[in-house]
Symmetry: C2
């Protein structure tokens, strides 16, 4: 009988040009790149039998600084060797393994997660982006971050986030608890940092899209409150593009 070792992997990726975390027919995914690298690293590994599972299934164009995934490999190697071996077969592409660790048999990257952190990066300037092309969202407006903070305060806590949910969302309930939603200004850069146990599909990009409306003065902070309370997708401002969104990290029990 084959012995498997469960590995917890911390993964960075540039989501530009990828279809997102999950395998799809229409393009390259993070999951497919990792599973193909694992097959080359470990010839008896079968992705049909042992998938890579991630803490969050990011969309096309969304990036990760510290996504966490787990996989069962049919061998017991030093974690450093697993990291190096996977990176070797990832060929300096859009995905890299930052860290590998042996994990308990019952560790699950998705179901064991206690808290997820996202960052959204907006750059306010007239010129198009060059060095940060596809890595941030460029807007021509000067944003009022005080108003954005006032609007953000309405979203923190336990709410029905139906307004900020995509039609494809598979979550059982639209009720989620948003632990933090911070707006940080640094020169022409505006960062929106948020954390929660879990998020609805498109929730972060929807919240950022509405915060942008508030920042440019199209909405008041009270409009954000009204949009939330409407619990109605048609009350949504719009989704910010994927380019500026980063999956930052995950908390697990010690």
């Amino acid at each position: 009988m084959t012995e498997f070792t469960r590995y917890k992997l911390t993964i960075e990726y540039d989501g530009t040009g990828l279809v997102g975390w999950q395998r799809q027919e229409n393009g390259l995914s993070v999951q497919q790149l990792l599973e193909e690298a694992a097959q080359k690293f470990c010839r008896t590994y079968d992705p049909e039998q042992n998938r890579f599972y991630a803490a969050g299934r990011t969309d096309a164009g969304v990036h990760a600084l510290g996504m966490v995934a787990h996989v069962d490999l049919p061998r017991d190697d030093e974690p450093f060797k697993v990291m190096s071996g996977l990176n070797y077969h990832l060929h300096n592409g859009p995905v890299a393994v930052l860290k590998a660790e042996r994990a308990a048999e019952d560790f699950h990257a998705r179901f064991s997660a206690l808290k997820r952190y996202y960052r959204y990066h907006i750059i306010c300037r007239d010129a198009p982006l060059t060095l940060q092309k596809h890595k941030a969202w460029q807007v021509r407006d000067k944003l009022d971050t005080d108003a954005m903070r006032e609007a953000a305060a309405h979203l923190i806590g336990k709410h029905d986030f139906t307004t900020f949910r995509s039609v494809q969302c598979q979550s059982e309930s639209p009720v989620k608890t948003l632990d933090s939603l911070e707006v940080i200004e640094a020169g022409e850069h505006v960062y929106v940092d948020c954390s929660a146990r879990s998020f609805l599909h498109h929730q972060v990009r929807s919240m950022v899209g509405c915060l942008y409306y508030v920042g440019k003065g199209k909405w008041t902070p009270d409009d954000m409150k009204a949009a939330l309370e409407a619990a109605d997708r048609t009350a949504l401002g719009f989704n910010a593009p994927p380019d500026g969104l980063y999956f930052v990290k995950v908390d697990y029990p010690d």
Copy 2:
């Protein structure tokens, strides 16, 4: 007689895949992209007659956060229109104009410059880069930044920098005054910031290559002193790659 207006332009570019600032037969340059955009923006502009001049002629793969250039255009437009028009014709490519200003007739981006600032970005980690691929130099070593600072101190001031000069360097003298050379550590990131009135060809990348030798313990800070005093190119450690180098900004007289 055609009236010309001289514009001072602040320019950002992603040098990945470009042959550098200056026009060359073997690939696309920043200068060529700007001159072609200016021809589309202004049909009577002739690049053969009025070149774009830059404060620094960066090499292939080197980036700029705030390169300054000047050009004489055969029309007098509002600076904002010049910026927007050039950016429109730069098509969201690797070069963008951050700012345009009307400049005095005797302003020269290269010859009026009082001080130039460069930054070199090193990332110390085992995993290959994804989001910052071609935007930093990844090294697997943990660098001793205290030793790097001690070595850097030997280079500050007026010296014969022959050791750190490329064979292609066209500067009349190898004697330059290095005003500052700082080593900044932030987690896995190491930044080397420097400024001087002017630099020799490859000087920054050569200094960073030697600082890297000191950081990894291959050289002592005294070896840096000896390399400088040798005033001999064969005493050079090596040139750091262009990926991590950024032309940051230029000072001009008020």
